[in-house]
């Protein structure tokens, strides 16, 4: 599904190399987790995949089902099935959450040559998905993320994901700032979408989310590279010992 090969990325405005050869393969049907110290390049990886401005790819490739992601506009990447749940969801005053969701859903359907949802169909769908995430009607009426608590914003990201039904879902610290119950809701939301045709890349600092969403593979990122990959036990090791041991071991190798 997602293949990243030797990806090197620097900032556009500064001569600063952030990703220094990221290589990663997430096959359909699998859940991969990325962990790593602050500033190691996890969010940058997700932004570059989603097409944010401000970064320059100096080397390497990234493909989604064989399509060259890096050559596509952000909206085309979304239509191709990529979704990024932001670490910091953006507030957009004056744009209603419903308008936003409906515009996004229908834009993607249109890009894929599918019929747009009618107002009625859309409303029914969004109510059903919102209910599962414990998002009330009042929140849907408000402007996008404006006045939402940290946890509400994260749940709103998952609602968008549930509505858009992407095939490659990247979640950047969606668990940060969530209370125990919200964590459960988010994990349920992710698990409900798990299928053989879909893959997940879950960026997290904590083992807890991974208790709920069992990853197939855990990657450790440090200084702009994936330095180690392993099974779910790798996350436990990080939780217990921090990164020092792993980084030292990699440095020795």
């Amino acid at each position: 599904m997602l293949e990243i090969h030797d990806l090197h990325v620097k900032l556009e405005d500064e001569d600063k190399q952030i990703l220094k050869g990221v290589t990663l393969r997430v096959p359909a049907g699998e859940v991969h987790a990325i962990m790593g110290p602050n500033g190691s390049g996890k969010s940058t990886t997700s932004y570059v995949l989603a097409g944010r401005d401000g970064y320059v790819v100096t080397q390497g490739t990234a493909t989604l089902n064989g399509q060259d992601l890096l050559a596509m506009e952000p909206e085309a990447r979304a239509a191709a099935g990529l979704f990024l749940a932001f670490q910091y969801p953006v507030e957009i005053p004056g744009v209603g959450n419903m308008t936003f969701l409906r515009t996004a859903v229908n834009a993607q359907r249109k890009a894929r040559g599918e019929a747009e949802l009618s107002a009625g169909e859309f409303l029914k769908l969004v109510r059903e998905k919102a209910k599962a995430l414990d998002i009330d009607a009042e929140m849907l009426k408000r402007p996008v993320n404006v006045g939402f608590s940290g946890g509400e914003k994260k749940r709103n990201e998952i609602l968008q994901m549930a509505m858009l039904e992407p095939t490659m879902c990247i979640l950047d610290e969606t668990d940060s700032g969530l209370d125990v119950d919200a964590m459960r809701l988010v994990a349920d939301g992710v698990n409900a979408l798990r299928s053989p045709e879909r893959a997940f890349l879950v960026i997290t600092h904590y083992q807890r989310l991974l208790d709920h969403i069992r990853p197939d593979v855990v990657h450790i990122m440090a200084e702009g590279r994936i330095v180690k990959s392993g099974g779910p036990e790798l996350a436990l090791e990080v939780e217990q010992n921090g990164y020092a041991d792993i980084l030292a071991e990699v440095a020795d190798a």
């Binding site: 989603a50 097409g51 909206e75 239509a79 957009i92 004056g94 744009v95 996004a104 834009a107 858009l164």
Partner: protein, 442 residues
């Protein structure tokens, strides 16, 4: 037959070296006044005393007065098919149609409506003893100090028609002034007078194409507890030169909400002069404008004077500028001595969609009372790239995302329209316009 009193005053009194002065040139032939003759003569005297504005005048530094002072106006082809479909057509309202600035009885609805009496100015001034004799030009005259507004005096002197409305109760439905044009060179001067009795309420809508050049004045006198909702949405579709003035006086506890939507056009200035002399009055003036192209120059000039206690005023102006368009905002809050507990708020913001466009803002506060709350702010910014990326990452194409962000930028101004149905119509119109002209937004 021209009125001789008016003609006498038209003779240049100063610097008359034989050649006609620019003011006489600009005025041309004045219409007959009837009950408004004296008021028109007074206005002309005021105008003579202050003269036409010059580019160096304090309130004309950002907007060139020449297109308004020129004796003639360039013809603008009339293409009935161009521009937008009529606005408010599905709203239950009473229509008063002006064709090239003159009342068009055949196209207008029956002017009978409960709670309100409506007459074209041309008829009202012909009625002996009509109250218009004492009201016409009164608020305009009062609004000439401390800042002169020569074009409003010119309008009072020279208006060919307008509408005279007396609201005695709650108007049964909104009244719409609809401007239509046929003459490509129509130089329209309309003057509307509104009088709202205590507790009366009116929604006034203005829309359509005024003329190649338009000079519009509204005088609105609101008695105790009266409420006036005003929405002006003049149509896009030709490079109009337009100057509008709203003069309002608010009685105790009266409410004025005025919103204007402006799309493209050429050289435009919209002034609001609000007198809040009585206690507990509330005035909100707001505007949303979109300008695409170097020929677009749009100026909002607002002057709100608080003299009563606990007055509340809000100014909310938003401009979206692109391809070299210019936006101007000059907003003033004057709080007179003793106007305690005044709550004055002013915000003007421009969204520049490129670097060729510009926004010039001159916010002013002048406060002579100590127990007041007044704030103002002005910002100029570009599209928020983070929000744009967020929308695009959800699959919203760039052009559509920009439209959403433009609407989001304008939302605070639209929020000043109380009536939800009318607000949605304005929002839809804006959205249609943005969607059908994607090139206009980047």
């Amino acid at each position: 037959m021209p009125d001789s009193a008016v003609l006498d005053i038209m003779t240049p009194s100063v610097g008359g070296q034989g050649a006609p002065d620019p003011l006489s040139m600009r005025l041309g032939t004045l219409p007959q006044g009837g009950a408004t003759t004296a008021a028109r003569a007074d206005a002309l005297a005021r105008l003579r005393a202050m003269g036409l504005p010059r580019p160096r005048d304090e309130y004309w530094r950002y907007t060139d007065p020449a297109p308004f002072t020129d004796a003639t106006v360039a013809a603008q082809a009339v293409d009935p098919a161009a521009g937008d479909p009529p606005l408010f057509s599905d709203v239950d309202r009473l229509r008063i149609v002006f064709l090239d600035g003159r009342f068009d009885a055949a196209a207008s609805d029956d002017l009978t409506l409960s709670g309100i009496s409506i007459l074209p100015l041309s008829q009202a001034q012909a009625e002996a003893g009509h109250w218009i004799a004492g009201a016409y030009g009164r608020l305009e005259a009062a609004g000439q100090s401390p800042v002169p507004r020569p074009f409003a005096a010119l309008n009072t002197a020279a208006a060919t028609d307008g509408v005279v409305i007396h609201v005695t109760g709650r108007a049964a439905k909104p009244v719409q002034i609809l401007y239509r044009r046929a003459d490509a060179a129509a130089d329209v001067v309309c003057h509307h007078v509104l009088r709202l009795d205590p507790g009366a309420e009116l929604t006034l809508l203005e829309s359509g194409l005024v003329g190649a050049r338009g000079n519009l004045v509204i005088e609105a006198d609101l008695a105790t507890g009266a409420r006036l909702h005003h929405i002006a949405a003049l149509r896009a579709g030709h490079p109009r030169v337009s100057l509008t003035h709203l003069f309002a006086r608010l009685g105790e506890g009266a409410l004025l909400k005025s919103f204007s939507l402006s799309v493209d056009g050429a050289h435009m200035r919209s002034e609001a002069v609000i007198d809040m002399a009585a206690d507990d009055a509330v005035a909100h003036v707001a505007g949303a404008m979109l300008g695409d192209g170097r020929q677009v120059h749009h100026d909002d000039t607002v002057f709100i004077t608080h003299a009563g206690l606990r007055g509340e005023s809000r100014q909310v102006f938003k401009k979206v500028l692109k391809n070299g368009a210019t936006g101007v905002f000059q907003g003033k809050i004057l709080v007179r001595p003793g106007a305690q507990k005044t709550d004055g708020y002013q915000i003007s913001q421009a969204l520049l969609l490129d670097e060729a466009s510009q926004f010039l803002a001159k916010p002013e506060l002048e406060i002579y009372a100590d127990d007041v709350k007044c704030s103002h702010g002005s910002t100029t910014g570009a599209i928020d790239e983070t929000a744009l990326f967020y929308l695009r990452s959800r699959g919203v194409p760039r052009e559509r995302a920009v439209v959403l962000l433009v609407l989001s930028f304008l939302a605070d101004a639209l929020a000043e329209i109380d009536d939800e149905g009318l607000r949605e119509r304005i929002a839809e119109r804006l959205e249609d316009w943005l969607n059908t002209r994607p090139a206009a937004v980047g």
